[in-house]
């Protein structure tokens, strides 16, 4: 939102149209809150309809969801634990998105980061705990960074579509981890669930004091804040935003777009790899196939809901972590399949993407268009050329 240069920044009491500048300032920023919030509410309403159609009570569902995700200190801690990997997985989508890239293969970086960290943990076993955990973090960062950085490099230097290549590489990464934990890195003692050797207790990452939430949450929040600073407050972030708007313009300006893309995608993948490392060091204790738990895919939704703003990712990850956490309770209490949460996520995703079409259409959010009297007049939505016109099916063909 910072890129809308507003006339409101002129230090006078009244703006160009004669409205108080404070009101104009609020109006310009309100769009970024009001539209996603409205979309969230509409998505929830549609989901209520769906639940009512399958013969369950939407009120009971939302009440159960509240209880399972946010209603008690216990459930809040549960939600926060699930939010931790989501923060990092969402950054894996949001950072490349600022450059105009749609990277959706974060899941691959998560599993590879996890397996690299586990291997590093075993290799450096015996060293002081601080050193081992640091080495594991670096291994996770590097593995994820190389994986997604390669996607960025292929995009820039070979024009390979990053959406498809990143998802293909996620499948390859999952095959690779299955191969590694069944073969070269397998702990012979793990019979039913092939895993790497378990980490010694001293090398595990513990909980934040006073909470039943591991330190990964803090790491995730710091990563989000750093990413925000990177994008909004540094020249690299500025260059990335230019390149995201128009690659040709950025190149004409002499910006090194290639290194920028590779750097941003590598950092994004590094964060996802770190999420895998945290899963290993704080939750699982070893790397195995359950590292592919779908955080990478939920992370896509988090990033889009947050409109790729790293600071907005923090509350959104908490919200979706809570929805995720309530899945088990919904299943038990309401006799609904565990996929109920997936349906809700899918609906929210579609509605959020649809809401993109409303940006810039509401006069109320754009003080330049204000005239006295018609502040609350609707958007030009209804007058739009083909927005609400029916899909005249046969006219175009005949």
């Amino acid at each position: 939102m910072a890129d809308t240069v507003s006339s409101a920044s002129v230090p006078v009491m009244l703006g160009a149209q004669g409205y108080p500048t404070a009101l104009e300032w609020i109006a310009r920023r309100a769009e970024a809150f009001v539209i996603p919030l409205a979309a969230l509410i509409v998505g929830m309403a549609l989901f209520s309809l769906f639940i009512a159609l399958v013969g369950k009570s939407p009120m009971q569902l939302y009440e159960t969801m509240w209880r399972g995700g946010f209603g008690s200190w216990f459930s809040i801690q549960n939600s926060l634990s699930r939010a931790a990997p989501l923060l990092l997985a969402a950054l894996c989508v949001a950072l490349p998105a600022r450059l105009g890239l749609v990277v959706i293969g974060g899941e691959g970086a998560i599993v590879l980061g996890g397996v690299a960290a586990a291997a590093m943990g075993v290799a450096t076993s015996g060293a002081p705990a601080f050193f081992v955990i640091l080495a594991m973090g670096v291994a996770g960062l590097a593995a994820g960074g190389i994986w997604i950085g390669a996607v960025g490099a292929l995009r820039h230097y070979r024009a390979v579509n990053e959406t498809i290549s990143s998802l293909l590489m996620a499948y390859i990464a999952i095959a690779l981890i299955n191969h590694l934990v069944e073969g070269p890195l397998r702990d012979p003692a793990s019979l039913n669930k092939p895993s790497t050797e378990p980490l010694a207790e001293t090398y595990r990452i513990g909980n934040i004091p006073g909470m039943d939430v591991h330190w990964g949450l803090v790491v995730g929040v710091i990563a989000c804040i750093l990413s925000w600073l990177l994008i909004e407050k540094t020249r690299w972030g500025f260059a990335a935003r230019i390149a995201g708007g128009n690659v040709r313009a950025a190149q004409v300006q002499g910006l090194a777009v290639g290194p920028l893309i590779v750097g941003f995608t590598a950092l994004a993948g590094g964060f996802a790899g770190l999420a895998g490392m945290l899963e290993v060091a704080a939750v699982q204790g070893s790397a195995n196939a359950s590292l592919a738990a779908g955080y990478g895919y939920t992370g896509i939704l988090v990033a889009f809901l947050a409109r790729h703003n790293p600071l907005a990712i923090i509350p959104v990850a908490f919200l979706l972590g809570g929805i995720d956490a309530s899945g088990g309770l919904i299943q038990r209490r309401m006799d609904l399949p565990d996929a109920t949460v997936l349906v809700l996520q899918g609906m929210l995703f579609v509605v959020i993407l649809f809401s993109e079409t409303f940006y810039g259409r509401f006069k109320a959010f754009n003080p330049d268009l204000w005239q006295r009297g018609d502040l609350l007049k609707g958007p030009d939505l209804l007058k739009g050329p083909d927005l609400l016109k029916g899909p005249d099916l046969l006219k175009g063909i005949a």
Partner: protein, 308 residues
């Protein structure tokens, strides 16, 4: 005859049979995606459509006892998903790639939601035609037992190849895909054509899903699709939006997918998971080899967002 008698010949034979078996969903999804992409849109949601189609086909086949009704239901469900994608993408600011990702999650979620009660019961299979009857070798018979959908898919590929060039509908599709402005100047509504093209693509993907649950592997599980819907999108690019190319590429992918099980059948178990990744690696290598930063892909529809 003894199963071991044909020895290592079993590998290419199993791969041939596997290519025919595994490739069928690829054929349908990629032909559907080819129609959609020729109109200038990309639908990444076909993966979700495939899964939902697999569930619908299986559920309807269990309830009615007819696999063909299941197939029809899957096509109808796919049509709905496709039409929804086509409709929502006409709004300004709505990104077709992102909507595709959302529909991928939504389609799978819905399929898992409604598919829970159908994991246990077994549905009737789609019929196969035994072309291997002349041979006594069971492996040959197994490899040449060809499902009717494969033959339909092959015929469809030839038909689409002909129709793209020689029919009015094919011309309209290509004009819209190459330039919205030119299409409008001709009095065509690009959004309508894309809506229909995406709907048709979804219906074909639904049929691909029906094949998965009603023939091979032939049951409904939540892991039924291993990304076929997505690989088909890459496959269309590799095939240069040519239906005959899609068919050939689908066979190639099917063969790569059959490599792991084929080697396993002759006792090679080392690195099974790496062979399992062969189709993904193949797709990626082909994409790298055929893309270039300096020129757009030959034959690419001008309005397609991924090649711009």
């Amino acid at each position: 005859m003894d199963a071991t008698e044909i020895g290592l010949w079993g590998v290419p034979l199993a791969m041939l049979g596997g290519a025919i078996r595994v490739s069928t969903p690829f054929i349908f999804v990629s032909l559907g995606e080819a129609i959609t992409e020729r109109s200038g849109r990309i639908n990444l949601g076909l993966e979700g459509t495939l899964v939902f189609g697999a569930m619908t086909a299986y559920a309807v086949a269990v309830m009615t006892g007819s696999p063909w009704l299941g197939l029809l239901a899957a096509a109808a469900a796919g049509l709905c998903f496709g039409l929804f994608h086509g409709w929502i993408c006409k709004f300004r600011g709505v990104n077709d790639i992102a909507i595709g990702i959302a529909l991928m999650l939504f389609g799978s979620g819905l399929a898992f939601f409604f598919g829970k009660p159908f994991i246990q019961p077994s549905a009737p299979d789609l019929p196969a035609i035994p072309f291997g009857g002349w041979s006594d070798v069971p492996q040959v018979q197994a490899a040449l037992s060809v499902n009717v959908l494969f033959l339909i898919g092959a015929a469809l590929a030839v038909f689409l190849w002909w129709a793209f060039r020689n029919t009015r509908a094919g011309l309209i599709l290509r004009v819209v895909g190459d330039s919205s402005d030119a299409a409008r100047a001709m009095g065509l509504n690009p959004n309508t054509v894309r809506l229909l093209a995406t709907g048709l693509g979804g219906a074909l993907a639904g049929i691909g899903g029906a094949y998965l649950s009603l023939y091979y592997p032939g049951s409904w599980t939540e892991g039924i699709s291993s990304g076929q819907g997505l690989m088909a999108v890459a496959l269309v690019i590799f095939a240069r939006w040519n239906p005959l190319g899609c068919f050939a590429a689908a066979l190639l992918f099917g063969g790569a997918g059959a490599l792991g099980p084929a080697l396993q059948s002759v006792g090679v178990t080392q690195g099974y998971y790496l062979f399992y990744a062969a189709p993904y690696i193949l797709t990626l290598v082909i994409m790298i080899a055929t893309s270039s930063p300096s020129r757009s892909l030959a034959g690419a529809p001008g309005e397609l967002s991924i090649t711009k």
